[in-house]
Subunit: 334 residues, 2 copies
């Protein structure tokens, strides 16, 4: 397998990205990696970190798409950016997957404009796995579609069902619609109409509305919502997780008694922190693009990049693109 | 002051409601309370709990609006329900405020149909105060307007500014728009258009977009969003708060070492729990209705009802209705 990596994307690029590649190649010696980015910097980083070097190809990309750039404009104008060149390699079959911690908007725009959608998919979506008390659930969409129609929500549910059952190995995963009440008639126009579509769809295991209060305790396997709401759930979950550890740290500083208590609990809390830490969760696939694109968190460190590359490999090995093409209800069929 | 109380609303009605009234009258002996609900039950409860009894009037209401009832239909059909009769008393000036832990939808529908809006307010809104690390911020709307237009978001900001500055005593409060990025061009159609309106409004202290990740750490004084998103933020904040304590409890059970650690931290955590507990936060006013209506959480206990009555009193004493009428930008002026 040949995996493409955007060396210029994310807050800690290119160091963390190259380190993530090194971690990956250490464990996956049969794969090859193509790194897109500024050759002079990457060559130096690779020489220090990556073994064996002959598994790595560097494609020199002098431009970089910034988080502030307007996505569609950036894809059209920054022709020699790591994202544009990487996605062209993906389109042309020179790489089997593309992993990036760069601008989500640019990746989605580039995915649409350069690689193209899977036939029948109206709007590709971003997913992520979020922690709850006893495990992780999948949230879709988490930011690529800020304004949705009901057909989009249905297709998110269908795509996520394929992903969760075939990549994550959970059979017949339950699907819940994120809403502000559990009753059928609750919600905004979008959620009410989406409910009706989801209820009558045959290839998903729809279990009804799910309220945000139950997400940390007993979510369904898959939670669907529009990308605006999903992004807010993602970031609030992250923020509340950070707050928890921050508060405990402050408590432990507040007195001798609390310090001892904190020290006794430290090993337990450390394990917990791993769970509520996005780095462990890895990348989020762009479901619906006719090629494997995995988006890593903008603040990714080497471990997060490593997980993202693993996600991409799992996608490839399980032939998810073909499965998605089979399962999707096109708009004309609704 | 005469405060109306819905004795039939909420999971713990009427016991918790009557207990809340008793707590309130203990501390506010100059006020009078009008209780709406089933006379036979309420008389018995009051006789046991409330002193002095002569400060209480009971208005017999045999019907009850359930959480599952469709709000507008319930207001139109259940003419002798505690909510409908209570709001009629409010409209006719027989009470100065109405406090209920019943159906939010029915209260909002009844507020609109029976009491009416403040002139110039397009859509009344529900607010609540949510905890963050160093205090509380105000979130508006938290569920009464699931589909909004930009003018609604602007008016939410204006109403909340009056409330926070005049009732909660925070001068020139900052207003942030809940969004999925801090940059001006981020978000969905609603947030982009709302940003423009908020930016050019003169009577609010708009500080730009705010991301959900920063809500637990450094929110502005007021966070505006549509009621669908706000309700999800409210419930996810509650759920994550519950999760923390639940997790810590489990850890403390997992070994002797952890148990000791947990016991040492217990007093500190207990204080914290109060902060992340909605009961302490009290009721949420329905801003924009031409009368004082305070909605308490459906799971309110007596303490929460007590806080809700206090909120209503503060509203009345600070003459907030008149201030709201002065400050609002009507749609025609935008």
């Amino acid at each position: 397998m040949r995996i493409g990596i955007d060396a210029m994307g994310g807050d800690n690029a290119p160091h963390a990205v190259i380190e993530g590649v090194a971690l990956y190649l250490n464990q996956n010696q049969d794969d090859e990696v193509v790194i897109f980015g500024d050759r002079s910097i990457i060559e130096k980083e690779c020489a220090q970190k990556v073994q064996p070097l002959n598994k790595v190809e560097i494609v020199d990309c002098k431009e970089k798409i910034e988080f502030e750039d307007e996505p569609v404009k950036a894809i059209r104008q920054k022709k020699s950016s790591s994202i544009v060149v990487g996605l062209q390699y993906l389109k042309e079959g020179k790489i089997d997957a593309f992993v990036s911690a760069g601008s989500t908007g640019a990746l989605m725009a580039g995915g649409l404009l350069i690689v193209g959608r899977i036939k029948g998919i109206d709007r590709p979506a971003l997913t992520t796995r979020l922690p709850y008390k006893d495990g992780q659930y999948l949230l879709i969409d988490v930011g690529s579609n800020t304004d949705c129609r009901p057909i989009n929500i249905l297709q998110f549910a269908q795509m996520a069902t394929v992903y969760v059952s075939r990549v994550l190995g959970k059979k017949n995963p339950t699907v819940g619609l994120l809403n502000i009440g559990t009753e059928e008639n609750k919600g905004n126009d979008l959620s009410k109409q989406s409910y009706d579509l989801l209820k009558s769809a045959k290839n998903i295991n729809f279990v009804g509305n799910v309220e945000a209060r139950s997400l940390p305790f007993s979510p369904p396997d898959i939670v669907v919502c529009d990308g605006f709401v999903g992004n807010i759930v993602l970031k609030l979950t992250e923020g509340m997780g950070l707050l928890f550890f921050d508060i405990l740290k402050d408590i432990a500083k507040s007195s001798f008694r609390a310090k001892i208590g904190g020290l006794l609990l430290k090993p337990y809390l450390k394990r917990l922190k791993g769970k509520y830490d996005y780095k462990e969760v890895g990348g989020a696939p762009l479901l619906g693009i006719d090629g494997i694109i995995v988006k890593c968190h903008g603040a990714s460190d080497s471990q997060a990049i490593f997980s993202g590359i693993h996600q991409a490999k799992s996608f490839y090995k399980n032939n998810i693109l073909a499965l998605l093409k089979e399962e999707i209800t096109a708009e004309s069929e609704v």
